[in-house]
C-alpha cells in the first residue's frame, strides 16, 4: 500500500520536473549575467512584471479583452462549423451542395486572407473575430461531419428496429457515436483559436495580450514580452484542460478516455 502511494505521488510530480529544471537553470543563467536581460529576462523579472501589471489592473483588462475575442470567435466560427457539420453529416443533399466547396476553401492559407480581412472589416474587432472564427470553423466542421458519417451503421439499423424515431435515433445513437470525433475537432479548434488570436492581435490593436506584447517590444521591455508569451501558454493549457474535462465527462463509456 505504501509503495502504491509513493508511486502515485511520483507520477503526479513527473511532468513538472522538466519545466522546473529549465526555470531554475534560466534564473541562474540570468543572475550570473551569462544571459543578457535584453535577450531573455530572468523568470523572476517576468513574475515581477506580472505583479506590477496585475496590480494596476492593466493585465486583467488585456486578458479579458483577449479571452472575449477568442470565445466570441469560437462561438461564431465553431457554432457555424458544428451546425454545418451536422447538416452535411446527416443529409446527403446538404453534403453534395456544401462539402466540396468547404473543403476547397479549407485549403486556402488563412493568413493569406489577412489583407482582405483588413479591407473588409478594417482593423477593429470585426477583423480579429472573423479570423478567429474562420480558424476554428474548419476543425469543428470536418470532425463533426466525419464523426457523423462514421457512426457504426449496424447501431443505426439496430436503433431503427427498436422503434426509435428519427430524432431519438439522432440523439441517442448518431450524436453520441460522433462525439469522440467532435471533441477532437473542439480540441483542435481551441488550439487554432489562440494561435490566430495572437496573429490578429499583433496586426493592429490597442488592447489585448497581443497588443501588450507588441507594445512592450517597441520599448524593449523583454520581461513583458515573455510575460505575454507565458500567458498564451497558460491559456493554451487551460483550453486543453477544458477539452480533457469534457472528454472525461462525455466519453466516460469510452475505454480510451476512462480515468486511470
Amino acid at each position: 500500500m505504501a509503495i502504491q502511494i509513493h508511486n502515485f505521488s511520483w507520477q503526479k510530480l513527473l511532468p513538472w520536473l522538466l519545466p522546473t529544471a529549465i526555470i531554475v537553470i534560466w534564473q541562474t543563467a540570468a543572475q550570473t549575467g551569462w544571459l543578457s536581460s535584453r535577450t531573455l529576462p530572468a523568470p523572476w523579472d517576468v513574475i515581477k512584471a506580472g505583479v506590477v501589471l496585475s496590480s494596476s489592473g492593466e493585465l486583467l483588462q488585456h486578458l479579458l479583452i483577449s479571452t472575449r475575442r477568442a470565445l466570441t470567435g469560437l462561438l461564431i466560427g465553431g457554432g457555424i462549423g458544428f451546425a454545418l457539420g451536422l447538416l452535411t453529416g446527416v443529409s446527403r443533399v446538404a453534403e453534395s451542395i456544401l462539402d466540396s466547396s468547404i473543403q476547397m476553401v479549407r485549403n486556402i492559407p488563412l493568413l493569406a486572407l489577412i489583407p482582405l480581412v483588413i479591407l473588409w472589416f478594417g482593423i477593429d474587432e470585426g477583423g480579429k473575430i472573423f479570423l478567429v472564427s474562420l480558424s476554428v470553423f474548419f476543425p469543428l466542421y470536418i470532425n463533426t461531419y466525419h464523426g457523423l458519417r462514421s457512426v457504426d451503421k449496424g447501431l443505426i439499423e439496430m436503433g431503427r428496429i427498436y422503434g426509435l424515431s428519427r430524432w431519438a435515433l439522432f440523439q441517442q445513437v448518431i450524436l453520441p457515436g460522433a462525439l469522440p470525433s467532435i471533441l477532437v475537432g473542439l480540441r483542435l479548434s481551441l488550439g487554432y483559436m489562440w494561435l490566430f488570436l495572437v496573429v490578429a492581435e499583433t496586426i493592429a490593436s490597442s488592447e489585448g495580450i497581443g497588443y501588450m506584447t507588441m507594445n512592450a517590444r517597441e520599448f524593449l521591455q523583454t520581461d513583458i514580452v515573455v510575460l505575454g508569451i507565458a500567458i498564451y501558454a497558460v491559456l493554451g493549457k487551460a483550453s486543453d484542460l477544458l477539452a480533457n474535462f469534457l472528454e472525461h465527462r462525455w466519453l466516460k463509456w469510452h475505454a480510451g478516455y476512462r480515468a486511470a
Binding site: L155, E157, M158, G159, I161, Y162, G163, V173, W253, H254
Partner: protein
C-alpha cells in the same frame, strides 16, 4: 457465467399470454442487380415454432431474415405475419445479430431499455434477470465478455415481448462452451414465452439442438425441410442426434457426391502451362471448378488433356489429380 434454469423459472413471473406469430412467405425473391440471392422461397412457420435455417455463407439465409425484420424489401413474392402483409419494421418482430450491437455509451440496463417508454427500468431489470445479468445492470458494455454482451442483446430483444424472434447467427462469435450455455438459455426462454423463433446458423448441430424444423437454403432456394422430432433438452451424443446431424451435413456439404477419400469425379476444362515447371489444370466437377497445380512434366507423363476424366482429390491444402 452459470445460469441456473431453475432460478430463471423462479424469477419468471406469470407467463405471458402472447403466443407466437404465424409466418408465411410465398415466392420470395430478392435480387441485388444481376445477383439473384433468393429465388422463390416458400416458407410457412406455425405460431410458436422454432425453425432453423442452415446453409453456406452467401446462400441467402441472412437476406431472408432481413426481409422478415423489415430491413429490406423483397423483389417479388409476399411476406405476411398472422395473415397480415408485412411492410417495414414491425414491433412484434425483434432481431438479434451476430454482433451484439449494444450502444457503448449506454449502460447495460439503458441498452436493454432502448426504445421502451414509461416504467422501462423495471422491465429492463426483469429482462436482465432472465438472462442472469441483473448484477451488471450499471456496467458499460465494454466491460462485458462476448457471451455476456449477447445475453444483454437477448434481454433487449425479449423485453419487447416479441412474437417473432429472429436470430442471425447470434452465437457465431462465441466459444464452444458459452455457445452451448446460450443455446440452453435461448431454448428455455423460448419454451417459457412461446414466441416464434427463426434461427439462421451455419452450425448444423446448433440447428438440430434447438429447432423443431431445420430448413436448408442452397443458392437462394429451400432444398431441404426436415422435422426434428427429438425430445427436448437434446443430448448431442445420442445416435438419433448424430444421425440427423449426418443427414443434414451430408446435404449441406454434398458428401453423397464426394466419396470417402475426398475424391470428386470431373473432367479437365483447361490446362494452363505458362510456366516451364508448374502448370494449372482446371477440373469441372459437380460443385464447380477446382484448380490443381501440378508439375508441367507430369501433365505429359500422365496424359492429362482437355476433356479427359479425372478424379480430383481434395486435400487439406491442395487439389491432387488422379487418372481414372
Amino acid at each position: 457465467m452459470d445460469i441456473s434454469i431453475a432460478e430463471i423459472n423462479r424469477l419468471e413471473e406469470a407467463s405471458t399470454d402472447r403466443r407466437g406469430i404465424a409466418v408465411q412467405a410465398t415466392g420470395i425473391t430478392r435480387n441485388f442487380g444481376e445477383r439473384h440471392v433468393l429465388r422463390g422461397v416458400d416458407l410457412e412457420i406455425t405460431p410458436g415454432e422454432f425453425v432453423a435455417i442452415v446453409g453456406h455463407s452467401g446462400c441467402g439465409k441472412s437476406t431472408l431474415l432481413r426481409l422478415l425484420a423489415g430491413l429490406d424489401q423483397s423483389s417479388s413474392g409476399s411476406l405476411s405475419l398472422d395473415g397480415k402483409r408485412l411492410d417495414g419494421i414491425n414491433p412484434d418482430v425483434r432481431i438479434m445479430f451476430q454482433d451484439s450491437r449494444l450502444l457503448p455509451w449506454r449502460t447495460v440496463i439503458e441498452n436493454v431499455g432502448l426504445g421502451l417508454e414509461g416504467n422501462w427500468r423495471t422491465a429492463a431489470q426483469h429482462a436482465l434477470q432472465q438472462v442472469g445479468l441483473d448484477d451488471r445492470a450499471n456496467d458499460w458494455p465494454a466491460s462485458l465478455s462476448g457471451g455476456q454482451r449477447q445475453r444483454v442483446a437477448l434481454a433487449r430483444a425479449l423485453v419487447h415481448e416479441p412474437r417473432l424472434l429472429l436470430l442471425d447467427e447470434p452465437l457465431g462469435s462465441l466459444d464452444a462452451l458459452t455457445r452451448i450455455e446460450m443455446q440452453r438459455l435461448i431454448e428455455q426462454l423460448w419454451l417459457d414465452k412461446g414466441f416464434t423463433a427463426l434461427l439462421v446458423t451455419h452450425d448444423v448441430a446448433e440447428a438440430i439442438a434447438l429447432a423443431d424444423r431445420v430448413v436448408l437454403i442452397e443458392h437462394g432456394a429451400i432444398t431441404l425441410d426436415l422435422d426434428i422430432d427429438l425430445p427436448r433438452r437434446r443430448e448431442r451424443g445420442t445416435p438419433e442426434f448424430a444421425k440427423l446431424e449426418g443427414l443434414v451435413l451430408s446435404r449441406v456439404m454434398g458428401i453423397d457426391k464426394v466419396n470417402v477419400r475426398n475424391q470428386i469425379k470431373g473432367h479437365i476444362t483447361a490446362i494452363i502451362s505458362g510456366d516451364p515447371v508448374l502448370s494449372e489444370i482446371q477440373v469441372e466437377t459437380a460443385y464447380g471448378t477446382v484448380t490443381a497445380t501440378v508439375s508441367t512434366r507430369s501433365v505429359e507423363e500422365y496424359g492429362f488433356e482437355v476433356g479427359s476424366e479425372v478424379l480430383a482429390l481434395v486435400k487439406s491444402n491442395e487439389i491432387a489429380l488422379a487418372t481414372i
